[in-house]
């Protein structure tokens, strides 16, 4: 009997795999919020402010894209924020302390991210640690290692002016390149998730890991690969955040994982796995930064910004649960 429900559930899921309902809800909420702030808050409706919102979304958008992969598998990654710090420090060490060319620094950041992701994946797939615990451990390990290898000193990219010069310049319609990097990363993630075998296994793992294993898929290996892909996005986020500060700051990173998870969840990615979309996640990330910046421009006190952001996360998850219940 359980098998039948499972089958039924996964069939419904495959129909709704694009998760269009929640995505539309999130998009509707985003447009509503933008319209509301634009109408009510003086000075909000300006090109520069919209560009500020895009810029503020870049870091979280990249992190949330990465974490979407692992959440779809039914896992979680709490190490994305501090992993990002670690990758930015690795890039600083390669491109500044060792004085190697900038492209090598960028590659090093991506490689460091993939390493963090692979370790997460191996801990989960091989050592059978629950994802929550494995990545919680790696949250501390990556933060600590970022500080060990930097000797707790920020690394400035002054001698690599091309770095911030490229990522923060605005050659296309006045939007800084980090925003295009985020959107490009999301596009690659969309292709990976929807057009490749990696994507198919990502959804399959989250829908029914045992069935996937029984159908002959090397589940452990694919888990490690999926966490490594998540890691590549962590590395990309490390590049993006370092370019905004023109430096790698070893003390930063805690709390970014929660924004990333919140963006994915608001965008309709289910924490119980099997469902999710990159488009939804990016919408979720925009929603969070629109909310933050809108409330800032409106001059709402900080404590209320926290309350409102929290309520939006709760509301999004609640809507998701309601939708799930009505479907069952």
């Amino acid at each position: 009997m359980q098998t039948t429900t499972l089958l039924a559930r996964s069939r419904v899921q495959s129909i709704l795999r694009g998760d269009s309902i929640q995505r539309l809800l999130a998009l509707g909420a985003l447009l509503l919020l933008l319209a509301f702030f634009s109408a009510v808050v003086p000075h909000f409706a300006s090109t520069n402010n919209y560009i500020d919102i895009l810029t503020a979304t870049a870091v979280n958008g990249v992190l949330a894209t990465g974490v979407t992969f692992v959440i779809i598998t039914g896992g979680i990654d709490l190490s994305v924020g501090t992993g990002m710090t670690f990758t930015s420090v690795v890039m600083g060490i390669v491109a500044v302390n060792l004085g190697l060319p900038l492209p090598l620094g960028l590659l090093a950041a991506l490689a460091a991210g993939a390493l963090v992701g692979s370790i997460n994946g191996a801990l989960i797939a091989k050592a059978k640690l629950p994802p929550f615990i494995a990545t919680l451990g790696m949250l501390y390990v990556t933060l600590g290692m970022a500080q060990v290898i930097s000797d707790v000193h920020p690394i400035y990219f002054d001698q690599q002016p091309a770095f911030q010069g490229f990522f923060m310049s605005k050659p296309i319609v006045g939007i800084p390149n980090i925003v295009w990097v985020m959107l490009g990363g999301a596009a690659i993630a969309w292709i990976l998730l929807n057009k490749t075998i990696l994507g198919r296994y990502t959804f399959a793992l989250g829908s029914n890991e045992e069935a996937t294993r029984l159908s002959g898929v090397n589940v452990d290996r694919w888990k490690i690969i999926i966490y490594a892909v998540d890691g590549l996005f962590i590395g990309l986020a490390g590049i993006v955040i370092a370019s905004r500060m023109n430096s790698a700051q070893p003390g930063l990173g805690m709390g970014y994982e929660l924004d990333a998870i919140a963006a994915a969840v608001i965008g309709g990615t289910s924490l119980s796995g099997g469902e999710g979309s990159v488009v939804g996640t990016i919408i979720g990330a925009f929603l969070i930064s629109t909310l933050r910046i809108g409330l800032s421009v409106a001059g709402i006190p900080d404590q209320w910004k926290s309350v409102i952001t929290g309520l939006v996360v709760i509301g999004a998850v609640w809507l998701d649960i309601l939708r799930r219940r009505s479907r069952a």
Binding site: P42, N48, T55, I76, E209, L271, D302, V307, I314
Partner: protein, 351 residues
């Protein structure tokens, strides 16, 4: 399957719990009253501060252990405090241990550190409380065990510490306000970005700045302070939002290193470098460069190395039973393009 579902449910719940605690984590202190008390203490003890003469040798304290519990370890400021403390301890021939929590909202972790330190029965404790009230029981325990407590940085809001080694942040922020006023011609709109609204340094710097503006410069409008957790990217986004909301903004005061870095990033990203007056706090490479190039008008520097060394000095004196002034002021300086290369400024800056 069932297990996975339970795990993911647990993960979800805990994530939400984390979101909630992250949002409420900074709301652990409630001290409008204690801020006032601290500033009152600062002004009343102002005269006594200069009287303090640090010991030249450890005397009976030689070889004994002083446990230093700070508010952090990762920030460059705390690294400088640590260096000052450990160097002074080595010079006097005492042993000093130094530790602090990862972020300045981890009150509970800091209490655990204090508890562990007390269990090792040190000769003295130097303590920069994240939350003085929360530490009350442990401080009473220290007093009962006759372990002298030296407060430093934001200090300890209690009668137990034998002295407090700190910067007079209220007076320092008022100096920042004076410079801001003269740089914008005593009129216009000014934004304030602070690291948090619960720590003593956040409260005293913010209120010191606001009070001076209110008292002396009626034509300057200070916007409601905004808080960026000392994160240079989050503070930049906030600064840009404030510029959006107030196109006539003439100046920014960033109340700690992370806050002013955020302001500098925002000015750079919006192409407003040199157009809006930026005034900061503490030092760090980015701020030093910005002041040298004229993008930042100037900053208040504390003397972090001095805070570290003086708190070891005070602890040694306390172990030896010497009387200490109620407050030991470690001083602050205004620095800008004109005096940044003076040796007395260079000595207190950190990179």
């Amino acid at each position: 399957m069932k297990l996975t579902r339970i795990t993911s449910l647990a993960a979800g719940t805990m994530t939400l719990a984390l979101v909630v605690s992250a949002c409420s984590g900074s709301a652990t202190t409630a001290p409008a009253a204690s801020a006032a008390a601290a500033s009152a203490q600062a002004s009343s003890a102002g005269g006594a501060a200069s009287a303090y003469v640090p010991p030249t040798d450890a005397g009976a304290a030689k070889g004994k252990t002083i446990a230093i519990i700070s508010k952090g370890e990762q920030h460059q400021f705390w690294q400088a405090v640590k260096k000052g403390a450990l160097d002074e301890a080595a010079k006097l021939g005492v042993t000093a241990t130094y530790q602090g929590p990862a972020t300045e909202s981890e009150v509970d972790k800091q209490l655990t550190m204090l508890q562990t330190a007390l269990s090792n029965n040190p000769a003295a404790v130097c303590f920069a409380a994240l939350d003085s009230k929360a530490a009350g029981a442990l401080l009473a325990q220290a007093q009962a065990s006759k372990i002298p407590v030296v407060g430093f940085d934001s200090g300890v809001d209690s009668t137990i510490p034998v002295t407090t080694v700190a910067t007079d942040n209220t007076a320092a922020a008022a100096v920042a306000a004076d410079h801001m006023a003269s740089l914008i011609g005593n009129a216009g709109t000014v934004g304030v970005i602070v690291h948090d609204q619960t720590s003593q340094t956040g409260i005293t710097r913010r209120d010191g700045f606001l009070a001076q503006m209110a008292a002396k410069y009626p034509n300057i409008k200070v916007l409601p302070p905004q808080y960026g957790a000392g994160d240079a990217v989050k503070s930049a986004d906030i600064a840009k939002a404030m510029m959006t909301a107030n196109p006539d903004l003439k100046g920014f005061f960033g109340a700690n290193e992370g806050s002013i870095k955020g302001v500098l990033n925002a000015l750079k990203e919006t192409g407003n470098e040199g157009k809006i007056v930026a005034i900061g706090y503490d030092s760090g490479q980015q701020q030093i460069d910005a002041i040298t190039s004229g993008v930042e008008a100037g900053a208040i520097t504390q003397n972090p190395i001095g805070i570290g060394s003086k708190c070891v000095d005070a602890a040694v004196d306390a172990i030896n039973g010497k009387a200490l002034p109620q407050k030991i002021d470690t001083g602050f300086s205004w620095f800008d393009k004109t005096n940044i290369n003076n040796p007395e400024i260079q000595a207190v800056l950190y990179k």
